[in-house]
Symmetry: C2
Subunit: 235 residues, 2 copies
């Protein structure tokens, strides 16, 4: 039976990490809010008396929810045995995924340092300040960590073969950073060859080609977690 | 064999969620950095060629690490069968825990909206702005969610009996918010009776009394995730 998957219908956002896994693992799903709209999603969220979700993305299962991006991926990996499945690998992948999600949250807060209730334009001065540290310290710290993790595994993937959801997610993270901070990422690319090679390996996965070329994959845009404001980028 | 647990030795921080579980579940551990100091922890972090941690807290296991707070708790719950263990409960608890950690991150960013590399005093103007939305919108949104989750479970605990690590964590979250925002929390308390009752239930757990009265439990302070700056609080 196909999963009921719910996420904002107009942005890749955090939902994209789930979409990539569902697609690459060949797990049937229905992208409900793309069919029914965001209002239907908000109604669905309010309707889960047992086991509500705090925010999308989530899977709706038997009146309950599986929410929080990293948790959804961990759940799907266990349930569908997609990716390395030993206990050590499972928690190693969850650790990496949660670290990816931390960087995603920081990338969001670069353009929303004061709060989600305000427009970017109303917190632009603060965003300019926050972006400097993000470019200079945070991106290198995280990418350096993933580089080290890949080198530690001495293989093509973050937890050995076969590829896992964390590999898919690191691919999308690099895509997002390149969209939002193209000048900075151009400068940094040479310092993280293992991360870049992993990105390219995922982009070439046969299991993803149909999805990547389809309109099921939403383009980055200025309502997303990753946003390109030229004034926040620099080499 | 006792776990090697590593976290900053002078603050409760994110490590406290792990300490609470280790203590309440009766899992043997050594709080390594409290014995050896923060420099020993940094040296240990640099030493994990296979499976490094991005940041503390982490468990050091056979040359590898289990890091990311929610991941550590999920791992310990599975390995030591502490708390509800059905598949649905396990992912429900992880979902709640990750949502708790999101609020912890937001509570931190209230006093560090621009970056971790700057002192509070160097981002105080931005902190004053961010604190307003945090107090008015974010705390109620999260506490309202946990209230709803507790009511959905129709019992004493977040995932039915017995208590789980998420119950311990929600207790500590309330403690932290009360420390950092005492005036705001005094105003809000009456709106979230199930959350407050859960807090009190955890505080009275026989399994925690020894720990809570011991010096193994570190007091909140101004180097922590939760900090009390009176100017950031309001009714």
């Amino acid at each position: 039976m196909a999963y009921d998957f719910w996420y904002w219908p107009t942005i890749p956002g955090r939902g994209e990490f789930v979409r990539l896994m569902l697609e690459a693992c060949g797990i049937p799903y229905t992208d409900r809010a793309r069919d029914k709209g965001a209002d239907a999603m908000l109604a669905d969220m309010a309707d889960h008396a047992g086991g509500p979700a705090f925010a999308p993305p989530y899977l709706s299962i038997d009146g309950s929810t599986v929410a929080q991006t990293a948790n959804i991926l961990f759940y799907l990996a266990e349930r569908h045995q997609c990716g390395p499945s030993g206990m050590k690998s499972r928690y190693w992948l969850a650790q990496l995924q949660l670290t990816i999600m931390d960087l995603v949250a920081e990338a969001h807060d670069v353009h929303h340092p004061i709060g989600v209730g305000l427009y970017y334009e109303d917190q632009k001065a603060e965003a300019l300040r926050r972006a400097a540290e993000f470019r200079t310290d945070r991106i290198p710290k995280y990418l350096g960590y993933f580089e080290r993790a890949l080198i530690a595994e001495r293989g093509d993937w973050l937890a050995g073969a076969p590829w896992s959801y964390a590999d898919l997610s690191l691919f999308h993270l690099v895509e997002g950073l390149r969209y939002a901070f193209p000048r900075r990422m151009a400068t940094l690319a040479a310092q993280y060859p293992a991360v870049v090679a992993l990105h390219d390996r995922v982009a070439a996965l046969p299991e993803l080609q149909d999805y990547l070329a389809s309109d099921r994959r939403l383009p980055f845009n200025q309502d997303d977690v990753f946003r390109h404001y030229p004034e926040l980028d620099a080499p």
